[in-house]
Symmetry: C2
Subunit: 527 residues, 2 copies
């Protein structure tokens, strides 16, 4: 099969699957992303491996479940010897380049032990998931800890925005009725426009930066990870996106009073987080969500720019384009804000793949309902770049068969994990960090969540698609829970922790005898 | 509590627990090891984490289960970023030194990726479980692949043994009736003496080497891993040990015809290995086992020398002495040779610990039946050296409370794992390398073995202490199997794969707010 020359891997941050036109949003207009879906395959059942930026991304970048790579929350470092997307693709002759966010935290202890200098070329790659950091920007820059060298701030200053941290005071702040500056850290300010022009906002800036790289790369093949910071909070959009949507276009909240009366203790603890209780304000969703929609619309606009840019350079025919997100956003559903837990708004991903190869012509403009996981992208990229998927490291499956219209045997469930040891709920519930963990399996019909320190949760997605009724303690569902419990155990037994030896190498291992080691021989004449 | 200054960590290779006087052997005389048991605590229920040299030792050296460290068979490399005994003890001011065998295979791919030169000081430590290799000798040196620089061969040549490989032709060969040389690779030659003097045999040589290190170390505190190669095959003992025991002193074989008629497929496949069928010869055990007993007696003799040596240097009062093995040897029991599977002769370890501290006086000359695992030694050493057991890496528990007479809550089961992907049984059974794995849990009453690709095994150790009756398919024991199955799942969920962050660090993590990241705030005036 022909190789794909370039891979454009676009990721949004905290973009719910259902906040795109092609995924059924009734009001949000995303014509360019919808166009990608027409050019390729839209996966309707794609899931993150963890509904938190850091661990989700480490799964994308390693092709491994969170349990296996171990970087289970934001800023919990990725072990220095985990192989990453950059490692695998660079070995296949692609420049692997980052523009935007990864949430990677380098394993400084591991690097120090092995003498890897963080500022060496090697140290930088190891610290950046193997990507050349053309521009690394994780998108959250509080005044008290902003990097004085932040490139985006330098850019904003060149564009006339003064101050120590125009990321905050210009791009992520807005203007009050009296002309005063209002910080985007406060979500009550989300219904006003950013203090930057559209073309100077983060999404525009990162798109420009990616285009500049593509032009600079010339004929070198690449994997470009264009990783947008939005629509993650601060929920501040520039005009015209800030005014694009109005409260009347906000889709209804998905929550039921019943959810609060007998809430699972972990769900209940998360309901008490300020990012959740804030959505109990009657004006919260109408203030925040139009901005969120505007930020998505803006990303759509720049995706369109990028596609035209590639078209003008005759790169559409040899570039695979992927559009996805790291996880969703509750936005008040299930009485929750943020993410962390396992309801669909949190764990379901948008996932569109445009494969330029002729083999993919049969599937263009189709929707594939197969269960897809974040860890499938790396094997997909490796296959597209002509490589072999090393299954002792990569736990996902190449999506090439699905993209090319085959009907392979496919998984019948997805796995998502959550480590909430870093969240307020842990202290609230009085559990040790180690016990603040949960494992989810979702099948076509069921969703089962196994908590380390609490009773399980169970949802019947056929009868209760909104996930209002937790059957985790219901006597009638003992057998279903037991079956899904065993699915989780079987999954866990299969984790690829024997990473230093492949099955292929084991099959080819010479026996001990070939090295002269005799085992179980009696006498030379009497073997 | 006072620290222990030095740690002498003696390991034998393939020494069954029941082949020592103090563990109840009726004929084998091990007065010096028995004396250690009188000076300290003899653990009667100690188990290896895997009944194979490599993975068992990697568990000893990392303090982690095989599932966690991933080095699951001989020569499957230990990932380069696993922390090892040498790392931890050196950080506590002890020279960590190896004399003898580790079966460590360096992770050359991982080292190359991170720029670690294998011949640098760092590279050597990383390649040797963190030990300074005063003398690394894994003990198997076939003529076709012997290291021309092997120190023991140089020594033997100095002692007058000529040839390319006197390890084989002198130390591990014997002499036939006509004066001809007979190779120890053939187990039928085991009832004749080695062609070296006792003082030039491997056990004597390694003991001398260890003593030389101790004298050279002077006042520097150390952890010395004296890792004997015997009584592992080649089963060739020097005189007087070769003639010390006779067939009449061999304890009866433990096997039942019933075991063969309805054998579990994996057990059956291992019964067909040549190292197993060899024991079907009527003369096999009488030929081999007296030599095995002689090799154990010889180790005992040198342990006695070592204790006297330390006594003469006034080191007994500040040196912890540990005596153990990496796994057992079937020696024909259960129709098997070698090890690999989960019967007691294979997985149970001798484990004697002499703690010189006053706190341990109350437990001297006692037997402790607590379930001890190989992974407990590293935490025990770290505690003894005044360090903190880092539980995000180390999965074992310090034995100090048991050594000091406390009665802490303790585990009620042990775990042993086996990866037999490298053994002939795999091809014989037609399974993929990845499926050639099994997990065992042993409680006081039961032993349950979960096979990846076959039905489980179950033994009732109360009614069937000899493990003759496999209840793995018995309808009457469904509930017991389910319970033990869940014990294994709970164990697996607890594996420490989030190695880059400790619970302590998580508890102390500053909240996002302390860095200026506000989550879920509405307005400054209305938080």
């Amino acid at each position: 099969m022909a190789e794909v020359r370039n891979i454009l891997f676009i990721m949004c941050d905290q973009l719910r699957a259902d906040y795109l036109g092609c995924y059924g949003h009734p009001h949000l207009r995303t014509p360019h992303i919808d166009d990608l879906a027409r050019r390729g395959v839209r996966f309707a059942s794609a899931y993150c491996q963890s509904p938190i930026c850091g661990p989700s991304r480490m799964s994308f970048y390693t092709g491994r479940y969170m349990f296996s790579h171990g970087s289970s929350w934001n800023n919990y470092p990725l072990r220095v010897d985990e192989r990453t997307m950059g490692d695998w693709l660079r070995a296949l002759g692609r420049r692997a380049v980052l523009v935007g966010k990864t949430h990677m935290m380098a394993d400084r202890d591991g690097m120090a032990r092995l003498g890897v200098d963080p500022v060496s070329d090697l140290g930088v790659l190891v610290s950046e998931c193997g990507f050349e950091p053309v521009e690394r920007d994780d998108g959250l820059h509080p005044d008290m800890s902003v990097d004085p060298e932040l490139a985006y701030n330098t850019y904003l200053r060149e564009r006339g925005h003064t101050g120590a941290n125009p990321w905050h005071t210009a791009a992520n702040s807005t203007t009050g009725d009296d002309g005063e500056s209002l910080s985007g850290w406060y979500w009550g300010h989300s219904n006003r426009a950013a203090r930057v022009e559209e073309r100077d906002s983060e999404t525009a800036y990162m798109t420009d930066r990616a285009m500049r790289f593509i032009d600079q790369a010339g004929d070198e093949p690449w994997l470009l990870h264009l990783s947008y910071i939005k629509p993650h909070w601060p929920y501040i959009a520039p005009e015209p996106w800030a005014s694009m949507y109005e409260p009347g276009q906000v889709i209804p909240v998905v929550r039921s009073p019943a959810e609060r009366t007998e809430a699972h203790p972990v769900h209940a603890a998360f309901m008490r987080h300020p990012d959740s209780t804030l959505f109990n304000r009657p004006d919260a969703r109408d203030t925040i969500i139009p901005a969120y929609m505007g930020l998505v619309g803006q990303i759509d606009h720049h995706v369109g720019r990028m596609v035209r840019f590639l078209e003008e350079r005759n790169r559409l025919s040899d570039t695979m384009i992927v559009f996805t997100s790291d996880h969703g956003d509750y936005l008040g559903d299930h009485w929750l804000g943020e993410k962390d837990l396992f309801h669909e708004p949190s764990i379901r991903l948008p996932m569109i793949i445009v494969d330029p190869r002729a083999e993919a012509n049969a599937t263009r403009d189709t929707v594939d309902d197969s269960f897809v996981e974040a860890i499938d992208l790396l094997p997909t990229f490796v296959e597209a770049a002509g490589g072999t998927v090393e299954r002792h490291w990569m736990e996902g499956r190449s999506l090439a068969p699905l993209l090319h219209g085959a009907r392979p045997e496919w998984r019948d469930h997805v796995i998502t994990e959550s480590d909430w040891s870093g969240r307020r709920a842990r202290a609230d519930l009085g559990v040790e960090p180690w016990d603040a963990r949960a494992f989810m399996v979702r099948t076509r019909r069921w969703k089962y969540v196994l908590h380390q320190a609490f009773r399980p949760q169970l949802y019947d997605l056929e009868r209760d698609p909104e996930e209002f009724h937790d059957l985790g303690a219901c006597q009638d569902h003992t057998a279903v829970r037991a079956e899904l419990h065993e699915v989780l155990f079987a999954w866990m037994r299969g984790r690829r922790l024997r990473v230093t030896v492949s099955d292929e190498r084991i099959r080819a291992l010479p026996g001990a005898e070939s090295r002269g080691i005799l085992i179980g021989y009696w006498k030379p004449c009497d073997p």
